[in-house]
Protein backbone atom coordinates (compact mmCIF):
# COMPACT_ATOMS: atom_id res chain seq x y z
CA UNK A 1 0.00 0.00 0.00
CA UNK A 2 1.21 3.45 -0.84
CA UNK A 3 2.32 5.54 2.10
CA UNK A 4 -0.34 8.21 1.70
CA UNK A 5 -3.25 5.93 0.95
CA UNK A 6 -5.68 6.11 3.84
CA UNK A 7 -8.46 3.94 2.46
CA UNK A 8 -8.35 1.22 -0.19
CA UNK A 9 -11.52 -0.65 -1.15
CA UNK A 10 -11.67 -3.43 -3.74
CA UNK A 11 -14.78 -5.14 -5.06
CA UNK A 12 -16.95 -4.22 -2.08
CA UNK A 13 -20.36 -5.83 -1.84
CA UNK A 14 -22.72 -5.21 1.05
CA UNK A 15 -26.04 -6.96 1.39
CA UNK A 16 -28.60 -6.88 4.20
CA UNK A 17 -31.00 -9.74 4.82
CA UNK A 18 -34.57 -8.48 4.63
CA UNK A 19 -37.52 -10.84 4.93
CA UNK A 20 -35.65 -13.93 3.70
CA UNK A 21 -34.10 -12.03 0.80
CA UNK A 22 -31.06 -9.82 0.44
CA UNK A 23 -31.06 -6.13 -0.19
CA UNK A 24 -27.88 -4.97 -1.93
CA UNK A 25 -26.73 -1.71 -0.39
CA UNK A 26 -23.32 -1.54 -2.10
CA UNK A 27 -21.83 -3.37 -5.05
CA UNK A 28 -18.70 -3.22 -7.17
CA UNK A 29 -17.21 -0.46 -5.05
CA UNK A 30 -13.54 0.22 -5.70
CA UNK A 31 -12.07 3.25 -4.03
CA UNK A 32 -8.72 4.72 -3.00
CA UNK A 33 -8.54 7.72 -0.70
CA UNK A 34 -5.33 9.52 0.14
CA UNK A 35 -4.09 11.37 3.19
CA UNK A 36 -5.49 14.87 3.67
CA UNK A 37 -8.40 14.46 1.27
CA UNK A 38 -11.65 16.35 1.81
CA UNK A 39 -14.05 13.99 0.16
CA UNK A 40 -17.79 13.65 -0.09
CA UNK A 41 -19.89 10.57 -0.71
CA UNK A 42 -22.83 12.10 -2.47
CA UNK A 43 -26.09 10.61 -3.55
CA UNK A 44 -29.78 10.35 -2.82
CA UNK A 45 -31.24 8.55 0.19
CA UNK A 46 -30.67 4.80 -0.05
CA UNK A 47 -27.71 5.14 -2.38
CA UNK A 48 -25.37 3.53 0.17
CA UNK A 49 -23.47 6.57 1.52
CA UNK A 50 -23.93 5.82 5.20
CA UNK A 51 -23.35 2.10 4.68
CA UNK A 52 -20.04 2.81 2.97
CA UNK A 53 -19.08 5.24 5.73
CA UNK A 54 -19.94 2.65 8.37
CA UNK A 55 -17.87 -0.02 6.62
CA UNK A 56 -14.91 2.33 6.36
CA UNK A 57 -15.33 3.10 10.08
CA UNK A 58 -15.38 -0.59 10.96
CA UNK A 59 -18.88 -0.24 12.40
CA UNK A 60 -20.22 -2.64 9.78
CA UNK A 61 -18.63 -5.50 7.82
CA UNK A 62 -18.56 -6.03 4.08
CA UNK A 63 -20.35 -9.03 2.62
CA UNK A 64 -17.59 -9.40 0.01
CA UNK A 65 -14.50 -7.47 -1.04
CA UNK A 66 -11.45 -6.02 0.61
CA UNK A 67 -11.48 -2.94 2.79
CA UNK A 68 -8.24 -1.55 4.10
CA UNK A 69 -8.21 1.52 6.35
CA UNK A 70 -5.01 3.17 7.55
CA UNK A 71 -3.06 0.11 6.47
CA UNK A 72 -5.27 -2.31 8.34
CA UNK A 73 -7.38 -4.87 6.44
CA UNK A 74 -10.75 -4.66 8.18
CA UNK A 75 -11.86 -8.06 6.85
CA UNK A 76 -9.25 -9.77 9.01
CA UNK A 77 -9.62 -7.75 12.20
CA UNK A 78 -11.58 -8.50 15.32
CA UNK A 79 -14.15 -6.20 16.93
CA UNK A 80 -11.55 -5.19 19.49
CA UNK A 81 -8.96 -4.34 16.83
CA UNK A 82 -11.47 -2.29 14.90
CA UNK A 83 -12.47 -0.52 18.13
CA UNK A 84 -8.80 0.24 18.74
CA UNK A 85 -8.42 1.61 15.19
CA UNK A 86 -11.40 3.91 15.70
CA UNK A 87 -10.20 4.96 19.13
CA UNK A 88 -6.67 5.84 17.99
CA UNK A 89 -7.00 7.01 14.42
CA UNK A 90 -10.60 7.92 13.61
CA UNK A 91 -13.17 10.52 14.53
CA UNK A 92 -16.91 10.36 13.94
CA UNK A 93 -19.40 13.14 13.36
CA UNK A 94 -23.06 12.17 13.30
CA UNK A 95 -26.11 13.85 11.86
CA UNK A 96 -27.80 13.94 15.26
CA UNK A 97 -24.55 14.82 17.08
CA UNK A 98 -24.71 11.80 19.43
CA UNK A 99 -23.35 13.78 22.35
CA UNK A 100 -23.66 12.14 25.73
CA UNK A 101 -26.46 14.15 27.35
CA UNK A 102 -25.18 13.93 30.91
CA UNK A 103 -21.72 15.27 30.02
CA UNK A 104 -20.67 18.88 29.60
CA UNK A 105 -19.03 20.08 26.39
CA UNK A 106 -15.63 19.62 28.05
CA UNK A 107 -16.46 16.08 29.17
CA UNK A 108 -17.88 15.06 25.80
CA UNK A 109 -14.75 16.25 24.05
CA UNK A 110 -12.54 14.69 26.70
CA UNK A 111 -14.05 11.21 26.32
CA UNK A 112 -11.91 9.93 23.40
CA UNK A 113 -8.81 11.06 25.30
CA UNK A 114 -9.90 9.16 28.41
CA UNK A 115 -10.42 6.08 26.24
CA UNK A 116 -6.93 6.61 24.84
CA UNK A 117 -5.56 6.94 28.40
CA UNK A 118 -4.12 10.38 27.82
CA UNK A 119 -2.64 12.01 30.91
CA UNK A 120 -5.00 14.40 32.75
CA UNK A 121 -3.00 17.60 32.19
CA UNK A 122 -2.44 16.80 28.55
CA UNK A 123 -6.14 16.01 28.23
CA UNK A 124 -7.05 19.38 29.60
CA UNK A 125 -4.88 21.26 27.12
CA UNK A 126 -5.94 19.09 24.16
CA UNK A 127 -9.63 19.57 24.99
CA UNK A 128 -9.12 23.31 25.39
CA UNK A 129 -7.40 23.44 22.01
CA UNK A 130 -10.12 21.42 20.27
CA UNK A 131 -12.94 23.42 21.84
CA UNK A 132 -11.13 26.65 20.96
CA UNK A 133 -10.80 25.53 17.34
CA UNK A 134 -14.58 25.20 17.03
CA UNK A 135 -15.24 28.44 18.91
CA UNK A 136 -16.92 27.00 21.99
CA UNK A 137 -14.50 28.12 24.68
CA UNK A 138 -17.27 29.92 26.61
CA UNK A 139 -19.52 26.84 26.53
CA UNK A 140 -17.10 24.35 28.11
CA UNK A 141 -19.32 23.70 31.13
CA UNK A 142 -22.62 23.60 29.26
CA UNK A 143 -24.54 20.41 28.74
CA UNK A 144 -25.89 19.50 25.27
CA UNK A 145 -29.44 20.49 26.24
CA UNK A 146 -28.18 24.04 26.82
CA UNK A 147 -26.65 24.30 23.34
CA UNK A 148 -28.06 25.16 19.92
CA UNK A 149 -27.91 22.62 17.09
CA UNK A 150 -24.87 24.33 15.62
CA UNK A 151 -23.09 24.35 18.98
CA UNK A 152 -23.89 20.67 19.49
CA UNK A 153 -22.39 19.83 16.10
CA UNK A 154 -19.32 21.94 16.85
CA UNK A 155 -18.93 19.99 20.11
CA UNK A 156 -19.20 16.75 18.11
CA UNK A 157 -16.51 18.05 15.73
CA UNK A 158 -14.25 18.92 18.67
CA UNK A 159 -14.79 15.39 20.00
CA UNK A 160 -13.97 13.92 16.59
CA UNK A 161 -10.69 15.81 16.19
CA UNK A 162 -9.46 16.13 19.79
CA UNK A 163 -7.17 13.12 19.55
CA UNK A 164 -5.88 14.29 16.16
CA UNK A 165 -7.08 11.30 14.15
CA UNK A 166 -5.88 10.49 10.67
CA UNK A 167 -9.42 10.11 9.42
CA UNK A 168 -12.71 11.81 10.25
CA UNK A 169 -15.97 10.29 9.04
CA UNK A 170 -18.95 12.63 8.98
CA UNK A 171 -22.44 11.37 8.29
CA UNK A 172 -24.71 14.20 7.12
CA UNK A 173 -23.08 16.63 9.57
CA UNK A 174 -25.18 19.59 8.45
CA UNK A 175 -28.52 17.86 7.92
CA UNK A 176 -30.01 19.27 11.12
CA UNK A 177 -28.51 22.73 10.73
CA UNK A 178 -29.62 25.94 9.03
CA UNK A 179 -27.63 27.42 6.14
CA UNK A 180 -25.57 29.80 8.28
CA UNK A 181 -24.56 27.09 10.75
CA UNK A 182 -23.87 24.64 7.91
CA UNK A 183 -21.41 27.04 6.31
CA UNK A 184 -19.83 27.76 9.68
CA UNK A 185 -19.36 24.06 10.36
CA UNK A 186 -17.92 23.39 6.92
CA UNK A 187 -15.48 26.28 7.27
CA UNK A 188 -14.29 24.86 10.58
CA UNK A 189 -13.87 21.39 9.09
CA UNK A 190 -12.12 22.74 6.02
CA UNK A 191 -9.67 24.70 8.20
CA UNK A 192 -9.02 21.66 10.38
CA UNK A 193 -8.36 19.61 7.27
CA UNK A 194 -5.72 22.10 6.21
CA UNK A 195 -4.17 22.53 9.65
CA UNK A 196 -4.10 18.89 10.75
CA UNK A 197 -3.75 17.08 7.40
CA UNK A 198 -6.62 14.93 8.60
CA UNK A 199 -8.59 13.17 5.89
CA UNK A 200 -12.31 13.88 5.93
CA UNK A 201 -15.06 11.83 4.33
CA UNK A 202 -18.60 13.14 4.32
CA UNK A 203 -21.77 11.28 3.53
CA UNK A 204 -24.10 13.98 2.31
CA UNK A 205 -26.66 15.16 -0.16
CA UNK A 206 -26.44 18.73 1.07
CA UNK A 207 -25.50 21.12 -1.75
CA UNK A 208 -23.91 23.51 0.74
CA UNK A 209 -21.38 20.86 1.77
CA UNK A 210 -20.58 19.92 -1.80
CA UNK A 211 -19.35 23.42 -2.41
CA UNK A 212 -16.52 22.81 0.05
CA UNK A 213 -15.43 19.37 -1.13
CA UNK A 214 -12.25 18.74 -3.10
CA UNK A 215 -13.38 15.34 -4.26
CA UNK A 216 -16.94 14.15 -4.80
CA UNK A 217 -17.78 10.48 -5.17
CA UNK A 218 -21.27 10.03 -6.52
CA UNK A 219 -23.21 6.97 -5.46
CA UNK A 220 -26.37 5.63 -7.07
CA UNK A 221 -28.09 2.34 -6.24
CA UNK A 222 -25.05 1.23 -4.26
CA UNK A 223 -22.51 1.83 -7.00
CA UNK A 224 -20.00 4.57 -7.62
CA UNK A 225 -21.37 6.40 -10.62
CA UNK A 226 -18.88 9.23 -10.77
CA UNK A 227 -15.66 10.22 -9.01
CA UNK A 228 -14.75 13.84 -9.59
CA UNK A 229 -11.90 16.00 -8.36
CA UNK A 230 -12.85 19.65 -7.70
CA UNK A 231 -9.94 21.89 -8.52
CA UNK A 232 -11.14 25.06 -6.90
CA UNK A 233 -13.72 24.43 -4.17
CA UNK A 234 -15.58 27.32 -2.57
CA UNK A 235 -13.97 26.88 0.82
CA UNK A 236 -10.57 27.39 -0.67
CA UNK A 237 -11.46 30.60 -2.41
Amino acid sequence: MEKDTVIRIKGLLKQFPIGGQFFTALKNVDLDLNEGEFTGLVGPSGSGKTTLLNIIGGLDSPTEGQVSVLGQALNDTSHAERARLRRKHMGFIFQSYNLLPVYTVFENVELPLILNKVDKNERRSMVAQAVESVGLRDKMDSRPNMLSGGECQRTAIARAIVHQPALVLADEPTANLDAENSHHIMKILSNLNKELSTSFIFATHDEKIMAYLRRIIHLGDGEITKDEIIDNPKAHD
Binding site: L59, F92, N98, L100, R159
Partner: protein, 391 residues
Protein backbone atom coordinates in the same frame (compact mmCIF):
# COMPACT_ATOMS: atom_id res chain seq x y z
CA UNK B 1 -10.73 4.60 33.47
CA UNK B 2 -14.07 2.75 33.50
CA UNK B 3 -14.65 3.78 37.10
CA UNK B 4 -14.10 7.40 36.16
CA UNK B 5 -16.57 7.22 33.27
CA UNK B 6 -19.06 5.20 35.32
CA UNK B 7 -18.93 7.76 38.12
CA UNK B 8 -19.36 10.59 35.63
CA UNK B 9 -22.33 8.84 34.04
CA UNK B 10 -23.91 8.13 37.38
CA UNK B 11 -23.47 11.59 38.85
CA UNK B 12 -24.22 13.31 35.57
CA UNK B 13 -27.49 11.45 35.04
CA UNK B 14 -28.98 13.10 38.15
CA UNK B 15 -32.72 12.25 37.91
CA UNK B 16 -32.15 8.83 36.31
CA UNK B 17 -29.58 7.93 38.94
CA UNK B 18 -31.80 9.32 41.66
CA UNK B 19 -34.74 7.15 40.55
CA UNK B 20 -32.63 4.00 40.12
CA UNK B 21 -30.98 4.48 43.47
CA UNK B 22 -34.29 5.23 45.14
CA UNK B 23 -35.91 2.07 43.74
CA UNK B 24 -32.95 -0.04 44.87
CA UNK B 25 -32.74 1.65 48.26
CA UNK B 26 -36.45 1.14 48.80
CA UNK B 27 -36.04 -2.54 47.96
CA UNK B 28 -33.17 -2.74 50.45
CA UNK B 29 -35.35 -1.11 53.07
CA UNK B 30 -38.36 -3.30 52.36
CA UNK B 31 -36.38 -6.55 52.56
CA UNK B 32 -34.52 -5.49 55.68
CA UNK B 33 -37.61 -4.23 57.42
CA UNK B 34 -39.87 -7.19 56.61
CA UNK B 35 -37.25 -9.82 57.41
CA UNK B 36 -36.25 -8.01 60.59
CA UNK B 37 -39.90 -7.79 61.54
CA UNK B 38 -40.30 -11.52 61.06
CA UNK B 39 -37.15 -12.29 63.07
CA UNK B 40 -38.29 -9.84 65.72
CA UNK B 41 -41.66 -11.56 65.96
CA UNK B 42 -40.08 -14.97 66.54
CA UNK B 43 -37.47 -13.67 68.95
CA UNK B 44 -40.14 -11.78 70.83
CA UNK B 45 -42.22 -14.94 71.20
CA UNK B 46 -39.20 -16.71 72.66
CA UNK B 47 -38.39 -13.79 74.94
CA UNK B 48 -41.96 -13.52 76.18
CA UNK B 49 -42.01 -17.23 76.96
CA UNK B 50 -38.78 -16.95 78.95
CA UNK B 51 -39.87 -13.78 80.68
CA UNK B 52 -43.33 -14.91 81.74
CA UNK B 53 -42.99 -18.65 82.08
CA UNK B 54 -39.55 -20.22 81.97
CA UNK B 55 -37.20 -17.81 83.79
CA UNK B 56 -33.93 -19.71 84.46
CA UNK B 57 -35.39 -23.20 84.14
CA UNK B 58 -37.36 -25.66 86.26
CA UNK B 59 -37.37 -28.91 88.17
CA UNK B 60 -40.25 -31.15 87.24
CA UNK B 61 -41.89 -33.85 89.24
CA UNK B 62 -40.90 -37.12 87.48
CA UNK B 63 -44.54 -37.83 86.53
CA UNK B 64 -45.21 -34.38 85.13
CA UNK B 65 -45.91 -34.05 81.43
CA UNK B 66 -47.43 -30.67 80.58
CA UNK B 67 -48.82 -32.07 77.34
CA UNK B 68 -50.71 -34.88 79.10
CA UNK B 69 -53.21 -33.60 81.74
CA UNK B 70 -53.84 -37.19 82.85
CA UNK B 71 -50.37 -37.17 84.47
CA UNK B 72 -51.31 -34.24 86.75
CA UNK B 73 -53.06 -36.55 89.24
CA UNK B 74 -49.77 -38.26 90.05
CA UNK B 75 -47.39 -35.38 89.42
CA UNK B 76 -47.09 -33.86 92.85
CA UNK B 77 -44.91 -34.26 95.91
CA UNK B 78 -42.93 -32.24 98.39
CA UNK B 79 -39.87 -30.95 96.51
CA UNK B 80 -36.50 -32.45 97.46
CA UNK B 81 -34.70 -30.52 100.18
CA UNK B 82 -32.14 -28.82 97.91
CA UNK B 83 -34.92 -27.55 95.68
CA UNK B 84 -36.95 -26.55 98.72
CA UNK B 85 -33.91 -24.57 99.89
CA UNK B 86 -34.02 -22.56 96.65
CA UNK B 87 -37.70 -21.83 97.30
CA UNK B 88 -36.93 -20.74 100.83
CA UNK B 89 -34.22 -18.41 99.54
CA UNK B 90 -36.74 -16.91 97.06
CA UNK B 91 -34.59 -18.14 94.20
CA UNK B 92 -37.38 -20.38 93.00
CA UNK B 93 -41.11 -20.81 93.38
CA UNK B 94 -43.29 -23.94 93.32
CA UNK B 95 -46.36 -24.48 91.15
CA UNK B 96 -48.98 -27.12 91.86
CA UNK B 97 -50.93 -28.23 88.78
CA UNK B 98 -54.26 -29.99 88.64
CA UNK B 99 -57.16 -30.53 86.31
CA UNK B 100 -60.36 -28.75 87.21
CA UNK B 101 -63.69 -27.75 85.78
CA UNK B 102 -65.28 -24.36 86.08
CA UNK B 103 -68.91 -23.40 85.57
CA UNK B 104 -69.09 -19.79 84.39
CA UNK B 105 -72.69 -18.88 83.64
CA UNK B 106 -73.70 -22.49 84.22
CA UNK B 107 -71.55 -23.81 81.38
CA UNK B 108 -68.85 -26.40 82.11
CA UNK B 109 -65.31 -25.56 81.01
CA UNK B 110 -62.35 -27.88 81.57
CA UNK B 111 -59.35 -25.93 82.86
CA UNK B 112 -55.88 -26.34 84.23
CA UNK B 113 -55.76 -25.06 87.77
CA UNK B 114 -52.35 -23.81 88.88
CA UNK B 115 -51.32 -22.78 92.35
CA UNK B 116 -48.63 -20.12 92.41
CA UNK B 117 -47.12 -18.09 95.28
CA UNK B 118 -48.65 -14.61 94.89
CA UNK B 119 -45.45 -12.94 96.07
CA UNK B 120 -43.13 -14.55 93.51
CA UNK B 121 -40.93 -12.13 91.53
CA UNK B 122 -39.23 -14.65 89.26
CA UNK B 123 -41.58 -14.61 86.28
CA UNK B 124 -43.36 -11.60 84.89
CA UNK B 125 -46.92 -12.38 85.99
CA UNK B 126 -49.20 -10.14 88.03
CA UNK B 127 -49.53 -12.77 90.77
CA UNK B 128 -49.52 -10.11 93.49
CA UNK B 129 -53.09 -9.41 92.38
CA UNK B 130 -53.95 -12.59 94.29
CA UNK B 131 -52.85 -11.06 97.58
CA UNK B 132 -55.19 -9.55 100.15
CA UNK B 133 -58.41 -11.40 99.36
CA UNK B 134 -58.98 -13.16 102.65
CA UNK B 135 -62.73 -12.57 102.34
CA UNK B 136 -62.89 -14.51 99.10
CA UNK B 137 -63.08 -18.32 99.15
CA UNK B 138 -60.88 -18.79 96.09
CA UNK B 139 -59.29 -15.71 94.48
CA UNK B 140 -58.66 -16.40 90.83
CA UNK B 141 -56.34 -14.76 88.31
CA UNK B 142 -57.13 -15.33 84.63
CA UNK B 143 -55.90 -13.99 81.31
CA UNK B 144 -57.81 -11.78 78.89
CA UNK B 145 -58.29 -14.64 76.44
CA UNK B 146 -59.75 -16.88 79.14
CA UNK B 147 -61.95 -14.04 80.37
CA UNK B 148 -63.25 -13.51 76.89
CA UNK B 149 -63.79 -17.24 76.35
CA UNK B 150 -65.63 -17.72 79.66
CA UNK B 151 -67.28 -14.27 79.59
CA UNK B 152 -65.94 -13.60 83.07
CA UNK B 153 -65.13 -10.18 84.47
CA UNK B 154 -63.37 -9.02 87.62
CA UNK B 155 -65.65 -9.71 90.60
CA UNK B 156 -67.55 -12.51 88.86
CA UNK B 157 -67.96 -15.67 90.92
CA UNK B 158 -68.18 -19.16 89.48
CA UNK B 159 -67.99 -22.76 90.66
CA UNK B 160 -64.71 -24.63 90.54
CA UNK B 161 -64.73 -28.42 90.79
CA UNK B 162 -61.61 -30.48 91.28
CA UNK B 163 -60.40 -33.93 92.22
CA UNK B 164 -58.41 -33.98 95.46
CA UNK B 165 -55.61 -36.30 96.48
CA UNK B 166 -58.10 -38.86 97.75
CA UNK B 167 -59.69 -38.89 94.31
CA UNK B 168 -62.76 -37.20 95.72
CA UNK B 169 -64.54 -34.49 93.81
CA UNK B 170 -64.87 -31.24 95.66
CA UNK B 171 -66.16 -27.83 94.66
CA UNK B 172 -66.15 -24.24 95.86
CA UNK B 173 -66.74 -20.75 94.59
CA UNK B 174 -63.95 -18.87 92.88
CA UNK B 175 -63.97 -15.14 92.22
CA UNK B 176 -62.05 -13.37 89.50
CA UNK B 177 -59.80 -10.83 91.25
CA UNK B 178 -57.74 -9.77 88.26
CA UNK B 179 -57.61 -10.25 84.50
CA UNK B 180 -54.05 -10.17 83.23
CA UNK B 181 -53.04 -8.88 79.85
CA UNK B 182 -50.32 -11.31 78.82
CA UNK B 183 -48.79 -11.99 75.42
CA UNK B 184 -48.14 -15.62 76.42
CA UNK B 185 -51.28 -17.53 75.54
CA UNK B 186 -49.94 -20.57 77.45
CA UNK B 187 -50.57 -18.72 80.74
CA UNK B 188 -53.94 -17.58 79.55
CA UNK B 189 -56.03 -19.98 77.50
CA UNK B 190 -57.70 -22.65 79.67
CA UNK B 191 -55.83 -21.59 82.80
CA UNK B 192 -56.93 -20.38 86.21
CA UNK B 193 -54.26 -19.16 88.67
CA UNK B 194 -54.90 -19.44 92.39
CA UNK B 195 -52.65 -18.76 95.44
CA UNK B 196 -50.46 -21.82 96.01
CA UNK B 197 -51.42 -22.41 99.62
CA UNK B 198 -55.09 -22.31 98.65
CA UNK B 199 -54.61 -24.93 95.91
CA UNK B 200 -52.52 -27.09 98.24
CA UNK B 201 -55.34 -26.90 100.76
CA UNK B 202 -58.04 -27.59 98.13
CA UNK B 203 -56.18 -30.64 96.84
CA UNK B 204 -55.03 -31.73 100.31
CA UNK B 205 -51.45 -31.62 99.09
CA UNK B 206 -49.84 -29.42 101.75
CA UNK B 207 -46.26 -28.40 100.84
CA UNK B 208 -46.43 -30.19 97.52
CA UNK B 209 -45.67 -28.96 94.02
CA UNK B 210 -45.71 -30.22 90.44
CA UNK B 211 -42.77 -28.18 89.26
CA UNK B 212 -40.44 -25.55 90.62
CA UNK B 213 -39.33 -22.65 88.46
CA UNK B 214 -36.03 -21.02 89.36
CA UNK B 215 -34.67 -17.60 88.48
CA UNK B 216 -32.06 -16.73 85.89
CA UNK B 217 -28.49 -17.35 86.99
CA UNK B 218 -29.44 -19.85 89.71
CA UNK B 219 -26.90 -22.69 89.86
CA UNK B 220 -28.24 -26.26 89.44
CA UNK B 221 -28.71 -28.17 92.69
CA UNK B 222 -27.00 -31.49 93.31
CA UNK B 223 -29.56 -33.19 95.55
CA UNK B 224 -32.61 -32.97 93.31
CA UNK B 225 -33.91 -36.42 94.13
CA UNK B 226 -35.87 -37.94 91.28
CA UNK B 227 -37.09 -34.54 90.07
CA UNK B 228 -36.04 -33.78 86.55
CA UNK B 229 -34.06 -30.62 85.78
CA UNK B 230 -35.37 -28.78 82.73
CA UNK B 231 -33.06 -26.00 81.59
CA UNK B 232 -33.93 -23.13 79.28
CA UNK B 233 -32.73 -25.00 76.22
CA UNK B 234 -35.16 -27.81 76.97
CA UNK B 235 -38.04 -25.53 77.83
CA UNK B 236 -37.70 -23.39 74.72
CA UNK B 237 -37.19 -26.34 72.42
CA UNK B 238 -40.85 -26.34 71.41
CA UNK B 239 -40.58 -22.69 70.53
CA UNK B 240 -37.36 -23.29 68.66
CA UNK B 241 -38.93 -26.20 66.84
CA UNK B 242 -41.75 -23.90 65.76
CA UNK B 243 -39.19 -21.32 64.63
CA UNK B 244 -37.18 -24.01 62.85
CA UNK B 245 -40.32 -25.39 61.21
CA UNK B 246 -41.17 -21.89 60.12
CA UNK B 247 -37.77 -21.30 58.53
CA UNK B 248 -38.80 -22.46 55.05
CA UNK B 249 -41.74 -20.06 55.31
CA UNK B 250 -39.40 -17.28 56.32
CA UNK B 251 -37.05 -18.14 53.48
CA UNK B 252 -39.89 -18.18 50.99
CA UNK B 253 -41.05 -14.80 52.26
CA UNK B 254 -37.48 -13.51 51.94
CA UNK B 255 -37.21 -14.89 48.40
CA UNK B 256 -40.55 -13.39 47.40
CA UNK B 257 -39.43 -10.00 48.70
CA UNK B 258 -36.10 -10.40 46.98
CA UNK B 259 -37.82 -11.36 43.72
CA UNK B 260 -40.12 -8.35 43.97
CA UNK B 261 -37.15 -6.11 44.66
CA UNK B 262 -35.25 -7.73 41.79
CA UNK B 263 -38.15 -7.06 39.42
CA UNK B 264 -38.28 -3.42 40.49
CA UNK B 265 -34.56 -2.99 40.09
CA UNK B 266 -34.56 -4.95 36.84
CA UNK B 267 -37.28 -2.75 35.35
CA UNK B 268 -35.49 0.42 36.37
CA UNK B 269 -32.10 -0.78 35.13
CA UNK B 270 -33.36 -2.31 31.88
CA UNK B 271 -35.36 0.79 31.04
CA UNK B 272 -32.36 2.92 31.86
CA UNK B 273 -29.89 0.84 29.83
CA UNK B 274 -32.12 0.23 26.82
CA UNK B 275 -32.85 3.93 26.62
CA UNK B 276 -29.12 4.40 26.32
CA UNK B 277 -28.73 2.26 23.19
CA UNK B 278 -27.60 5.25 21.14
CA UNK B 279 -25.12 6.19 23.85
CA UNK B 280 -23.70 2.66 23.75
CA UNK B 281 -23.44 2.92 19.95
CA UNK B 282 -21.62 6.22 20.28
CA UNK B 283 -19.19 4.76 22.81
CA UNK B 284 -18.47 1.89 20.43
CA UNK B 285 -18.05 4.33 17.53
CA UNK B 286 -15.44 6.34 19.40
CA UNK B 287 -13.55 3.16 20.16
CA UNK B 288 -14.85 1.49 23.28
CA UNK B 289 -14.70 -2.29 23.00
CA UNK B 290 -17.74 -4.46 23.70
CA UNK B 291 -16.39 -5.98 26.92
CA UNK B 292 -15.62 -2.47 28.16
CA UNK B 293 -19.13 -1.28 27.34
CA UNK B 294 -20.54 -4.21 29.31
CA UNK B 295 -18.02 -3.55 32.09
CA UNK B 296 -18.96 0.12 32.19
CA UNK B 297 -22.67 -0.51 32.57
CA UNK B 298 -22.13 -3.32 35.07
CA UNK B 299 -19.86 -1.04 37.05
CA UNK B 300 -22.52 1.64 36.95
CA UNK B 301 -24.89 -0.97 38.39
CA UNK B 302 -22.37 -1.76 41.13
CA UNK B 303 -21.99 1.91 41.98
CA UNK B 304 -25.76 2.15 41.95
CA UNK B 305 -25.86 -0.60 44.58
CA UNK B 306 -23.24 1.17 46.72
CA UNK B 307 -25.15 4.45 46.45
CA UNK B 308 -28.37 2.63 47.27
CA UNK B 309 -26.86 1.12 50.39
CA UNK B 310 -25.75 4.59 51.45
CA UNK B 311 -29.18 6.07 50.68
CA UNK B 312 -30.85 3.23 52.59
CA UNK B 313 -28.66 4.09 55.56
CA UNK B 314 -29.24 7.84 55.32
CA UNK B 315 -32.88 8.02 54.22
CA UNK B 316 -34.41 4.83 55.56
CA UNK B 317 -31.94 4.31 58.41
CA UNK B 318 -33.80 6.64 60.81
CA UNK B 319 -37.09 4.91 59.97
CA UNK B 320 -35.53 1.47 60.55
CA UNK B 321 -34.01 2.75 63.81
CA UNK B 322 -37.31 4.23 64.96
CA UNK B 323 -39.22 1.00 64.40
CA UNK B 324 -36.34 -0.95 65.96
CA UNK B 325 -36.55 1.22 69.07
CA UNK B 326 -40.29 1.78 69.43
CA UNK B 327 -41.88 -1.00 67.39
CA UNK B 328 -45.14 -0.92 65.50
CA UNK B 329 -48.42 -1.29 67.38
CA UNK B 330 -50.68 -4.09 66.19
CA UNK B 331 -54.40 -3.38 66.01
CA UNK B 332 -55.38 -6.97 66.90
CA UNK B 333 -54.67 -8.98 70.06
CA UNK B 334 -53.30 -12.20 68.59
CA UNK B 335 -52.99 -13.92 72.00
CA UNK B 336 -56.68 -14.73 71.79
CA UNK B 337 -55.89 -16.70 68.63
CA UNK B 338 -53.33 -18.80 70.47
CA UNK B 339 -50.35 -16.91 69.03
CA UNK B 340 -47.55 -15.26 70.94
CA UNK B 341 -47.32 -12.04 69.02
CA UNK B 342 -46.35 -8.78 70.67
CA UNK B 343 -48.79 -5.93 70.84
CA UNK B 344 -45.94 -3.84 69.41
CA UNK B 345 -43.86 -5.62 66.80
CA UNK B 346 -40.20 -4.75 67.13
CA UNK B 347 -37.96 -5.63 64.17
CA UNK B 348 -34.57 -7.18 64.94
CA UNK B 349 -31.77 -6.26 62.54
CA UNK B 350 -29.07 -8.89 62.76
CA UNK B 351 -25.66 -8.39 61.16
CA UNK B 352 -26.28 -11.55 59.13
CA UNK B 353 -29.53 -10.13 57.74
CA UNK B 354 -27.99 -6.77 56.85
CA UNK B 355 -24.87 -8.30 55.26
CA UNK B 356 -26.71 -11.03 53.35
CA UNK B 357 -29.35 -8.58 52.08
CA UNK B 358 -26.68 -6.09 51.00
CA UNK B 359 -24.76 -8.80 49.16
CA UNK B 360 -27.87 -10.28 47.53
CA UNK B 361 -29.29 -6.94 46.38
CA UNK B 362 -25.85 -5.92 45.07
CA UNK B 363 -25.58 -9.17 43.12
CA UNK B 364 -29.07 -8.62 41.69
CA UNK B 365 -28.18 -5.08 40.64
CA UNK B 366 -24.97 -6.32 39.00
CA UNK B 367 -26.81 -9.10 37.15
CA UNK B 368 -29.61 -6.87 35.94
CA UNK B 369 -27.04 -4.34 34.76
CA UNK B 370 -24.88 -6.97 33.10
CA UNK B 371 -27.60 -8.82 31.15
CA UNK B 372 -29.16 -5.91 29.20
CA UNK B 373 -25.84 -4.14 28.58
CA UNK B 374 -24.38 -7.42 27.27
CA UNK B 375 -27.32 -7.76 24.90
CA UNK B 376 -26.98 -4.20 23.69
CA UNK B 377 -23.20 -4.49 23.33
CA UNK B 378 -23.79 -7.53 21.11
CA UNK B 379 -25.81 -5.40 18.71
CA UNK B 380 -24.16 -4.06 15.61
CA UNK B 381 -22.84 -0.59 16.46
CA UNK B 382 -24.80 0.80 13.52
CA UNK B 383 -28.06 -0.51 15.01
CA UNK B 384 -27.16 0.79 18.47
CA UNK B 385 -26.33 4.20 16.96
CA UNK B 386 -29.77 4.34 15.39
CA UNK B 387 -31.23 3.63 18.82
CA UNK B 388 -32.83 0.47 17.44
CA UNK B 389 -34.78 -1.27 20.20
CA UNK B 390 -33.98 -4.91 20.80
CA UNK B 391 -36.74 -7.47 21.01
Amino acid sequence: MLLKIALKNLLGARLRTFLNVLVTAFSFYLILFTSAMYDGMLQHAKQVTMDTEIAGGAYWHPEYDPLDPMTFEEAHSVPPSAIQALIDENKAFPVLVSQASIYPGGRIMPTIMKGIPPNQRIVNMPTDALLGHEDIAIPVLIGKGMASESKLEVGDAFTIRWLDTDLTYDADEGTVVHIMDTENFKLDMGHIWIPLNKVQSMLAMEGEATYVTYGKGVQPVQDKGDWIPRDINYLVQDMEAIIEADKPGAQILYLILLAMAAMGIFNAQVLSIFRRGREIGTLMAIGMTRPRVVGLFTLEGGLNAVLSAAVTLIVFGPILWYFGAYGIPLPIDYSEMGLIIAKRLIPVYTIGLVVSTTILVSIIVLIVSYIPSRRIAKMKPTDALRGKVMA
